[in-house]
Each structure stands twice: as C-alpha cells, then as structure tokens.
C-alpha cells in the first residue's frame, strides 16, 4: 500500500483544439496527495485543474504519464471501475430519479443488498443534514440542497478518494462560506481523501491541508496554505494568492545575515535570504511583500524604511488600506489593522509617511 492516496507522475494531457492545433491542458504534472488529506487544485480557469481532476476520475486519459490510486496504476481503467467518486459543479443529479434513488445509484450498480442500500442512503442523507428527503425529486430542492445530495450520492459509496469540481461555484456567497466549513468538518469525520478543484484562493486557503497552485497546465507550487501564502516561489503564486507588492531590484552583497536588494532611487532593502536557486550578485530580482507586513509609522524594530506619500485611504472595517506612492513613482499597498477603538486612520491623503518592514517579511524571487 502506497502512502499516497493519489499520485500523478509526469502526467500530460493534450487535446486537439477547435482549429486542429494541439492544446496542452496539463503539462508534465507530478503530484503526491496523501491519504486522508484535503488537497486543493487552485488556479484560474484554463490552468488545467479540472482536466487533472477528470483524469483522476477517468473521464479523460492522460496523453503521457501515469496516475496511481493507492499505489495502483490506473492506466486505461474506465471511470466506472475506479475507486473514486465525483461531486460535479452543476451537481449532475438524475432528474428522473428521486433523491433516494439518486443516492442509491452507486450502491445499486454494485449490487449491494436492498436493506443495506436503504440503511446507507438514510445514513448518507443524515450526514448531509437532509434526512427524510428520499421521496423528493431534485427539481424540488434548492441549489445548496442539491449540492448536499450530490455529496451524499458520492460519499455513500465510501470511495477511496472524493473528487470535487468547484462544487460550491454555483452557490451564493453566504451559503458558500457555510458549506466550506461544513465540507471541511465532514472531511475530517469521514477521513476520506478530498481533492478539491477551485479558482477561489480564499476557499482553498480556508479548507485545504495542502494546495497545488496551477497555471497554464503546470503545478507551480505545492504546500500547506500558510506556506503558499507566506513563501510564494513565483510572482504568479504571490499575485494569485492574496494581495501583494512587488519591488524590482538587483541583488547586492548580503549583510547582517540578510540579503540586500538595491531598488529604484538607490534605496537598499534587507530581505530574507533567498532559497535555492541562489541568485548571484547583481542579478535582477523581485522583492515580494504582503500589504499587512508593511507599517505606515516607521517602527523601531523595522530595519527597512521607505519614504512615501499617502495617495488614498480606504476604510474597510477591520482594516484600513493605504496607497503609498514612493519617490520612484511606484505605489505600495499598505494594510493596517484598526486596533484604535475609534478606528481613526493612521495617516491622511497627501501626508508624508515612512513605510517600514522587517527583512523576514520580504521575499526575494528570481525569475
């Protein structure tokens, strides 16, 4: 038994495009998804996340590479023989069957004994908190309820892996937030590996044990949410997950255990030492800093100080967002928490400020 629930080894998928050209939807992706984890494939539309999921489900076969489920190569095994179940974005409930028949479908296909089917369907409906719905038809349920039935229909089969293709995409915001927590709780309870496809970075951060960020068919970075957020390894990941500031510069000689980057106007900032591949002196680099790691009022402990002028102030309740123009003309986003009881802004538009931050808050990217 492999330690991984699902493994993709150098998987590629190429489709014939609309005008005969070959489109590479997934390019040489290698992923290891651990047993029992909540794993998200995150990326913008067209990044290959759904194609990857469909290959695991068996709806598509990889052009190259191999997919393993609990160590077993899937090869040409068709979808109906794979030990996985899928929750589809548009639910895909069978409209001609009742809720009970929908949920029983998979067990029926496996010729499970009738009394056991009945018991497990009841259990599954209770699990998604929609008991006694057996006799209804899908059309009579709301979108959120239909999605839960789709979940029950998949989980009732006790799959080795549950695949979810943007299952909350069609729901409104409030319901989506509730369902996110509910799904997460459910996943812990049943202990089944969930592979979750989404384009919503907040959703991925909220629910996942680990995230794979995908772009243009490539898995750019795989890691737990805080690692993806705090240590992005590429501009794309930094930009796609949350708000971020980029400062272009060249690498200078390190000092005091920090890397030094010379940015516009001859200013130098100290940053965390870059990880591999280590850039050479004088190389062009990008410094990534999150807005909430910047401070408007130069703090004593912050080594880095950049002068600027406040251009806009946006109050959003918990935080206030400031747009600060540097002498070089570049604008930085700064986010300050409103800890002041009256949440008075820390600076007014037009005011000269000194932005400060810790070297550890700044990451150097070489691209």
């Amino acid at each position: 038994m492999s330690a991984y629930a699902v493994e993709l080894r150098n998987v590629s998928k190429r489709f014939p495009g609309p005008s005969g050209e070959i489109v590479a939807a997934v390019k040489n992706v290698t992923l290891q998804i651990r047993d029992g984890e909540f794993f998200s494939l995150l990326g913008p539309s067209g990044c290959g996340k759904t194609t990857s999921l469909r290959m695991i489900a068996g709806f598509e076969l990889p052009t190259d590479g191999e997919i393993f489920i609990h160590g077993k190569p899937m090869g040409q095994i068709p979808a109906f023989q794979r030990p996985v179940n899928t929750v589809f974005q548009q639910y895909a409930l069978f409209p001609h069957l009742t809720i009970g028949e929908n949920v029983a479908f998979g067990l029926d296909m496996k010729h499970t004994a009738k009394p056991e089917i009945g018991r497990r369907v009841t259990e599954a409906l209770e699990m998604v908190r929609l008991p006694n719905m057996e006799k209804r038809h899908p059309k009579q349920l709301s979108g959120g309820q239909q999605q839960r039935i789709a979940l029950a229909r998949a989980l009732v089969n006790r799959p080795e892996v549950l695949l979810l293709d943007e299952p909350l995409g069609a729901l409104d915001l409030k319901l989506r937030k509730d369902m996110q927590l509910e799904l997460k709780t459910l996943q812990r309870e049943v202990g089944i590996t969930f592979i979750y496809v989404t384009h919503d970075q907040e959703e991925a951060l909220t629910m996942s044990d680990r995230i794979a960020v995908m772009s243009q068919g490539v898995a750019l970075q795989v890691g737990p949410p805080n690692e993806i957020y705090e240590q992005p390894q590429s501009k794309f990941v930094a930009n796609f997950i949350g708000e971020t500031n980029f400062l272009e510069g060249t690498l200078a000689a390190p000092a005091d255990g920090h890397a030094q980057v010379t940015i516009a106007d001859g200013l130098t900032i100290a940053t965390a030492l870059p990880a591999d591949p280590a850039p050479t002196l004088g190389q062009k680099v990008t410094v990534v800093i999150r807005p909430e790691k910047l401070h408007l009022r130069g703090r004593a402990e912050d080594v880095n100080r950049l002068p600027g002028t406040v251009e806009d102030v946006v109050y959003i309740g918990t935080d206030t967002h400031y747009g600060v123009r540097l002498p070089s003309g570049q604008k930085l986003r700064v986010r300050e928490q409103n800890t002041d009881p009256a949440s008075r802004p820390l600076a007014q538009t037009g005011e000269a400020v000194t932005i400060s931050f810790l070297p550890q808050a700044a990451r150097v990217l070489v691209e």
Partner: protein, 289 residues
Amino acid sequence: MLNQIRRSRALQLAGLLSPGVLWLVLFFNIPLLIVLFISFVERGRAGGIRLPPVFTLGNYADFFDPLYLGIFLHSLQIGGVVTLICILLGYPLAYFIAARPPRWRDGLLLLVMIPFWTNFLVRTYALKQIMGADGLINNALLGLGLIHAPLDLLYNEFAVIVGLVYGYLPFAILPMYASVEKFNYSLLEAAADLGANPARAFWRVMLPMTLPGVVAAIVLTLVPVVGAFITPDIMGGGKVEMIGTLINRQFGVARDWPFGSAISLVLMALVLVGVILYFRSGGEERRAL
C-alpha cells in the same frame, strides 16, 4: 369603460379565431359527422348509401368478422415491426446528429428531411425500381455472382415493411432528436462515476430521460403506419392487405362506404384510446423532468 375594453378584446379574439374555427368545422368536423352518419346506415345498391337511409349496426358487426379482424391485427403487427425498426434505426441516428458540433447538426437534419421534399409516390416508385427483379439490388447481387436468379424482393410483406420504414423513419428521428439534443451528457459521466458501465448508464439514465421523445416517435410512426394504404398498395402489389388498403377498397372497387366509414372510425377510436393512455402514463413523469 373597462367593460368596453373587455368587449373589444373579445371581439378581436373572435375575429382572429373564427377563420380557423370555420375551416375546421367545415372541412373537419362536418365531414367527420358525415362519416359517422354513413357508418350507421345501409349501403346503396350501386355504392353510396341506401336512400332513404336505413339505420344499422351491421357495419360495425362486420368488422369483427374473423377475416377483417385478422387484417386489422396483421396491420397492427406490421405497424409494430415497422415502428420497432424505425426506433432502433432512428435512436442511434438522432444520438449521432445530436452529438455533432452545433454547426453540423442543421445540415445533417436537412439530409434526413430532404427526401421528404420529393413526392411520396415518386419516392415509393423509386424504391420499387431499386428492389425490382431488374432493379439495382438484384443486378448488383447478380453481377457480384452472389445469386444466380433475381430475388423476389417485391410484392410481399418484406417489401411493404421496407417501404414503410423508408417512409416513416424521419417521423421517428425528429422527435427523438429533440429529446436527445436536450439531454445533458454530464449525467452519463455522473452515472459512470457511480459505477455504471456504458450499457447500464444508457438504460438507467439516458433512455428514461429521452423516453418522451421515443414515445412521441412511436405514436407518430405507429398511427400512420397502421393506417397506411399507398405503400402496401405499391410495394405489396395488392398481395398484402392492411387496414388502410381495406378502407381504400371500400370507397373504391367494393363500393361499401358504410363499412369503410365504420372501419375508419374504429381505427380512430383505438388511436384515441392509445393516445389517452400515453398521456395518462407519461404525463406525471414528464412533469417531474
């Protein structure tokens, strides 16, 4: 004021409806009543009806004569076979067309319908030519050396069935296409995901969901085929008797209008019962979809 508007609305409606209603009454309801009347009177000596009319139920009693009942049952049998063939040929075709990219579909549907822009008689005679002793099929088989004497393809039940399938296949394809085209193929993926192999996914999901189209196809094929008379006449060469040819004969050579009228009405009543049963049984399910 309001009443005035209402009245003028009613007038407008009456104005719009009356031509159609008049047409139906004049050319549909009144003739039907005439047929109904004729079916209950005795025939005239030289055709037509006996004057003054003499009431009788004999025309209906005649229908239950084993000879005529046999013809009727045989017609139903031929209708059943033809309908079954049309469904079995038509469903995959409808599926094939519906699965093409949208820009192809209209062209393919056109190909299904184009033969129908040619006169029905011309088409039937053309088919007869192809199947004749000196026709395309026999000549091709003789030329290939597969047979040594022409096959008797014409003037039998086989020829009638071929002709009827040819004639009514589009009536089966179009309603099934309408159903299949609306079918959401991701449901087949969902079925596969839940462990259904392609055959079971078809039986459990696709067929039930496209059943309204199949039933419409059955009604649209079975009803006219059971009553058909041109095709059995031409392809059967007078050797295959169906209810349609029987009716046709009553108004032609047999000169028995009352009996012809009675058979027509029995046929109509049976179709009506069939359609009512169809709507009763299918109605609830279709509402749920």
